[in-house]
Amino acid sequence: MSPIDRRMLYHVNWRLVGVMAALFAIGVLNLYSASGVRLGDGVQMENFYQKQLIWGAMGLVGMLAFMVFDYRRLHSVAWPMYVLTIVLLLAVPFIGKTVLGARRWLDFGLFSFQPSELAKFTMLLLGARLLSADSEKLNLRQLATVLGLGLVPALMIIKQPDLGTGMLVLLLLGGLVLFRGVKPWLFRTLCVLVPLVMPLFWFVLKDYQKRRILAFLDPATDPLGSGYHILQSEIAVGSGRIFGKGFLGGTQSQLRFLPEKHTDFAVAVFGEEWGFFGMITILSIFCAFLYQIAVVARDAKDPYGSYLAAGVFFYFFWQILINMGMVMGLMPVVGVPLPFISYGGSATLVNFSLVGLVLNVSMRRYLFKQT
C-alpha cells in the first residue's frame, strides 16, 4: 500500500483547508496593520507580516508532510516521543537559553527550539493512544494514569516558567478525557473536588502571575501595571464599536498603547480596526474551523483517528478560548497566542502541521471500508 492513494485526494476535507486559509489570510492582513508604528512623520512598517508569510509557506510543507503517511503509524511512536520530551525538558534547566527571564529554549546551533512546544504534540499522541484503547468511561485509576502522565511534563514546563503552555498540556489531556467520558460518580466527585483544589495552585504561582490574576479580577487597581494590558486591550476592542476604525486606522495599535500587538493581542488590533462585524466574522470562521475538526473526529474510521482529531480540536479550542478571552477581558493575562492570527514561527508551523494531521485522519476515513 502506497502511503498516498489517488482516491484519497477526493476525500481531502477542502472545507477545513478553506477556513484555515481564510484564517491565515486574515491573520497576515491583520499583522500588516499591526506592524505599522508611527514615530514622527508617516507610518513605519515592521516586517512581521512578511515573516509570517514565509512561516506559512513552511507550514504548508509541514501540513503536507503530516498528510502523506498513514496516521496509524503514530500509534507506535507515542511512548518514545514521551521519553524524548521528558529528557529534553529535563535538559532545559541546565543547558537552556534564558530569554526574557524564562529558560525555555534549547539552542541547537542552526535553530532554537522549545521542548514545551513538543510536549503539546507528544501529549496529544500519547493521550489519543491511551484513551482510544477502550470505549468504557474512565474510572479513577485510568484517569489518574492519564493525568499523572500529563502532570510530569506540565509541571516541568510551569517551572520554566511558562504557565500558559503548561496549562495547555493539561487542558488538552482534560479535553480528551471529557471526549472519552468519565464514570458518572467520578465526574460528580470531580465537579466538587476541582474547585476546592484549584485555590491551592495559588501558592505555586509566581508573584507576577498572581498580580496578573488580581489585575484581571480588578483592572482598576493597577492601571499602569498588570491591569494595563487588559485595559488597553479592552479599549482597543471597545473603541472599534460597530464598524471599526478602518484598516490601518487603529490608534491604540499604531501609537503602541496596545502591548504585544503582533502576538498575544493581535486580535485586539483586528477588533479595533474592523469593529463588531469584523470580530463576529472572525469568530464565526474560528467556529467553522473547530466544527470541521469536530466533524472529522466524529466521522473518523477508527477511535485512534477520532482521538487524534479531538486532540487537535482541543489544542485549538483552548488557545482560542484563552487568547480571545484575555483580549476581551474575560481571562487573566496568560501568554497564549491565537492560532493563525498571532505572529509566531514555530506556532504557525505546528498549527499547519496539526491541521495536516486532521486532514490525514479525514481523507483516510473510507480506506478500510471493504476490509
Binding site: R38, L39, G40, L130, L131, S132, A133, D134, S135, Q142, T145, L178, F179, R180, G181, Q232, E234, I235, A236, V237, G238, S239, G240, R241, I242, T251, Q252, L255, R256, F257, G271, G275, F276, M279, I280, L283, S284, F286, C287, L290, Y291, I293, A294, A297, R298, A300, D302, P303, Y304, S306, A310, F313, F317, I320, L321, M324, G325, M328, G329, L330
Partner: protein, 644 residues
Amino acid sequence: MKNLLSASSQNVPRHGATLLQFLVLGLFCLFAVRLWYLQIHLGPVFTEKSRNNQLRIEYLFAPRGFLRDRIGELLAVNEPAFALGLVREDCEDIPATLEKVAELTGLPAERVKEIYTRNKPKVKSFEPLVLAPDLTFDTIAKVEGVSVRWPGLEILSRTRRKYNYGHLLSHVLGYVSEANEAEMQADPSLSLGDFVGKQGLENRLDARLRGQKGKRLIEVDVTGRRLSEEQQGEPKAGEEIFLSIDLGLQQLGHKVLEGKSGAVIVMDPDTGEILALVSEPSYDSNMFTSGLSSAQWAQLRDDPLHPLQNRATQSVYPPGSVFKLVVAAAGLRYGMVDPKETVNCTGEVALGNHVFRCWKHSGHGAVNFQRALVESCDTYFYKLGMKLGVDRMSEFAKASGFGSVTGITLPHEKSGLIASREWKEKRYGVRWTKGEDLNMVIGQGYTVTSPLQVARYIAAVINGGKLLKPLLIRGEQPQITGQLPLTDEQAAIVKRAMVATVEDPRGTCHRVLTPGVVVGAKTGSAQVVRLTEELRRMGDAVPYKYRDHAWMAGFGEQGSKRYVVVAMVEHGMHGASGAGPVVKAMLNALFLGKKELPPQDVAGAASPTASPAARLEAVETQFPEPPVGILSPSMDGARREGDQ
C-alpha cells in the same frame, strides 16, 4: 494499565462528538455576547478612553496683563527669568548630574535631590524638570560652560512677574506664585508651573490679567512622543489694568506710616475710587514670584507685626470715638437729639453702681450736639446712648455699612461686628445690659470696624448718603450699595460738626487744619485692654501692646475736589497725635501739592532687616511688662481716660 494499552476498539465515543459541537456553540455565544457588550454597549466609553490615550492638549503661555497706577505708572510687569531644567531622557547619569547642579547653583545637594524626586512623577522623561527656578547671570554662564559635558541640562527661559514697587503696593496688588495642586484641580486650564494670583488684585482680577492660553492639540504615542500638532487658538495676552491708586500718594502714605503698624486710606467720596490704600508693615510682593523658601515664609508668617495682614481691610479694631459720628447721626435720625439742646457734663455719669467717666474728669460743662463732637464729650454720648439703646444704635450702624463687607476687590475682607441684643444672647447666653449701651456709644465693647468701613461711612456723610463700593480700578462705574438713613439736613449737621472739630481751636482735630481747604474730621482712640488709672497716667511708659489704637477719620474739600482720608495707627495712643500727622500729610499732598516722594523701591532691598524675633524683642525691651496688678483685663463698664 492493562486495558488502557490493550488492542484498539472500533468504537468512536458518540457523546464525545456531541460535546465538541456544543463546545463550539458555547464558544461562539460567549464571545458574541462579550463583543456586543464591549463594542456596542460600552463602545462610546472606550472610544473616549482611546481618544484620551492619543491626544494631549498643550497650552501656550499668554503674557499676564500689566498693572498701572491712575496716571499710567507701571506697577506690575513681566520680566524674563532663567531656570535650570533637566531632561531625564538625555541625561546619562542622573545622580551625578544632580550633584553637579548643586555645585553650579550653590543649592544644597539634598535640596536638589528633593526637588527632583518631588517633581519626577509630574514631568515626562523628555520634558525638562525644573531644578532651580531663578538663575543669576553668573550661574547661567557657569552652566553654559559645562553643558556639553552634562547632557540633559537645559537653561529654560520663562517670564516672571515683577513688581516695580514691591513693598509699596503688596497689600493692594498681592502677588502671583506657581499654582498648587488644589488650584490646578479646580481650574483645568492651569498646569504645572503656571502662575496664578494668590493675594490682592492679582488674585481677584486673575481671570482678566491671566489672559487666555493658546491651545495646541498634540498627538502622542505611548511614550509621550509628539507625532503631530494642531494649533487651536492663539494665546491672548492678559488685560492691562489701570488702578485708581495714585502712586505718589501711596508712596507718601507708606513713608508717613513707616516704622508703625497701621493703615491709611484715601477715597474719592463721589465715585468710591481708592487713591491710596496703605497698610504697614508690608512685605515685598517680589519675594513670592521666584518661589519663597520655607524659612522665608515662616519668617513672614510668624512676624509678630503680621506684615501679610492688610490692615485696611482684613483687620478690625474698636472704632473708639470715631463711632460717635455714627451714634450722633443715629440720634438725629431717631429724633432723640436736638442740636440746640445742651447737656451738662460733670465728668461722670452714674448708672446703677457704676460710674461712667468722661475722658475730661473735670467735665465739659454745658455741651450741645456740635460741641460734644468737637470736644468728644463722653458724658453727652452716654446720655444719648441711654436714650437710643442698643437696638437703634445697632440698626443704624448696620444701615451705615458697619458689620458688613464693603465689597472691595480684595480677598479676605473682614466684616467687623455690630453687636445686638440677639447676637449677645446667642453668643454668650447672657442678656444685654444697660452698661453695654454706654460702652457701645463710645465705640468700645463688642463693636469692631475696619478702616475701610469707616472711610465708606465718612464718604456717605458728605456725598448725600450714598454707601459706595470702594473701587480700585480707574474709571470703574460707581456702585451704590446702600443709602444712609439720614436726611440731607441731618447729614449736613454731622458734617458741620466735623468741620468745627478741625476749625475750633478746642477741637480734637485742630491740628489737621489746612489753609484753603474745608477739612472735617473726628478722632478716636480705641482701648485695647482696660487700663487702670495708675497705668494710664504712665503715658508713654505704657507697654506698646497695651496702648490704645489711634484713629482719625476725615475729609477735605476744595472746590469740586474732595477726598476722604482715614488713618489708623495701632497702639498710636491718641487719635490726634497718633493718626493726625498721617491725615495731615495726605491732605497736604492732596490739596497743597506738597508731595515728598520717597525713592523708588529697589526690589528686595527695602525689607526690614531685623528678624521678627529681634523686632519683637526690641518692642518688649522698649516697653517692659507692667507690674502685675495694675492691669485689669476686664472690658466691662467704666470708661477710661480717652480722647483729646
